[in-house]
Symmetry: C2
Subunit: 357 residues, 2 copies
Amino acid sequence: MSKVHNFSAGPGILPQEVLDKSAEAILNFNGINLSILEISHRSKDYIPVMDEAQKLVKELLGLDDDFYVLFLGGGASMQFAMVPSNLLRTNGTAAYVNTGVWASKAIKEAKMIGNTNVVASSEDKNFNYIPKGYTIPADADYLHITSNNTIYGTQIKQFPKSPVPLVCDMSSDIFSRKINGNDFTLIYAGAQKNMGPAGATMVAVRQSALGKTDRKILSMLDYKVHIKGESMFNTPPVFPIYVSMLTMKWLKDNGGVEWIEKINRQKADLLYNEIDNNPLFIGTVEKEDRSDMNVCFLLKNTELEPEFDKLAKAGNLSGIRGHRDVGGYRASLYNALPLESVQVLVDVMKEFGRIKG
Amino acid sequence: MSKVHNFSAGPGILPQEVLDKSAEAILNFNGINLSILEISHRSKDYIPVMDEAQKLVKELLGLDDDFYVLFLGGGASMQFAMVPSNLLRTNGTAAYVNTGVWASKAIKEAKMIGNTNVVASSEDKNFNYIPKGYTIPADADYLHITSNNTIYGTQIKQFPKSPVPLVCDMSSDIFSRKINGNDFTLIYAGAQKNMGPAGATMVAVRQSALGKTDRKILSMLDYKVHIKGESMFNTPPVFPIYVSMLTMKWLKDNGGVEWIEKINRQKADLLYNEIDNNPLFIGTVEKEDRSDMNVCFLLKNTELEPEFDKLAKAGNLSGIRGHRDVGGYRASLYNALPLESVQVLVDVMKEFGRIKG
């Protein structure tokens, strides 16, 4: 069977060895003649999976001991509500930077819960850049930012120095580059881009930041409840966490974030170079804010799209159509996507340039 | 490899053919040379999975067109909060029947949201029976019941005739017996007992019952939001839903709920018979309320437990230790557990009787 080059924006590509081990665990987990799908999350075979997953997050993000790592269900969208529920005091204000659809949704939920202050936004240019130089109110309960925007293809290259607790949605670029994890108070990420499959969300939160609001918090929305339950207050998404653990282990065993950052940079450079040098194409994002994860570009002549799509399909390129809000094309270059796949995409773009040039 | 008889209380046993197909889909889903773990939930290969899962729930429960079926993350515990958020008016009262740990947790969350009235409870006898003959207030916004108690091994055999909307947590006995689905207003169930693996929760809700509260509902807790998003308001737990779909399909293809109910009755009868006739053992639950799903029993002489455990282990019996709240033993006889496994357990009990008799 011919190889598919999987540029899906998410759920996204996973390493082949992770898929192989995951399939094996479905048939016979740990050699116990039972499937990982049909054993208790409190069994002696599964507890080490959760422990290892939590440990790997702390290692890969370089987090200190104040952090507790949770794996929850419900998706990153649930965090849009959980973050203000836990960190926004009843008389406090939460500061948000609006850099796209996901940030807007986070703001919407926070507004339902308490006072919010949108301190910066790039909505004026359809979110094609990252706002900079904004003032962060020193009395805000926290500042919420989104490190990477899957839809618009922007990425924060330099995180703001924040006088207040920094909360970051890293769903689409977690573990893709080196960060100073300890600069943050809370980091969350849906698993389905760089961490694993859909169905689990990682939350790393400073325990010292919790318990400061007098707000009544529903049990399932309360980080303290989940921490007390050691991320098993209720039945966790067992298999998505297992696959996430394997994916993080694959990353660590191959050299960790430092290793993948170099490759991710190579992949992004290769593709942005072609976009900038091929007269048929144009990028959609301010150059300094271009995402290394989601590369958005257009055909200058949109009428050529069907022809380019045909060529892309013949080259086994999958998932490169852009989001409906931006149009054109989007190639997602998550950790598990090999450089080779980007080269195939670039070759197809070059060939299209020759045909139409 | 010798067969393991999997009596796990949950996540519980799944049909072998479901496991085989699940493993295959991880390596190559639908023959598209991509894993089901790395494709978009909005892709043309996945949409039919969600459609089919929703359809199968309606078929297996016999639900009319007023019902909408959702598959959400977060577990049944999230429903403890979502049910009152959506159905309990700010000046209304919700009625609950307390039949165990899970019902108690549901009551706790409802109390955080509004007025509740516990109309019946079996807490006086450590939840070893199902309360009956209680009065349901005609002005309650709904009555919440739990059809089966995994921990205590009780099961509602006859659902109450309710003058108010009936809400039921069916996590541990859904699809195990024929019910009149249309008698309910909302049915929910964590997947990990009779429906699939951990990580997805099914909610079937009458659309006509929604929108009657003036309560402010967070998006992720709002059934109307999820219905509008066709159960894909945010990325759903893709793989747990797929495995649930396969499990429901397995049930339907083999004869549906009518077929499995007969087998479940046979399995339960076989085991309860042995418990009642073997002088070493005793059941923990009032006979008329005994669950066909979770069979709880004790060794009259608890000092014999280590010896019985050894014999059980030799017979490849897995997951039969009771919950810490009840002690002793608990055999969960979920749909996918074959009669043969129950026979092996009964044979081990008989042998133990001979040794000790």
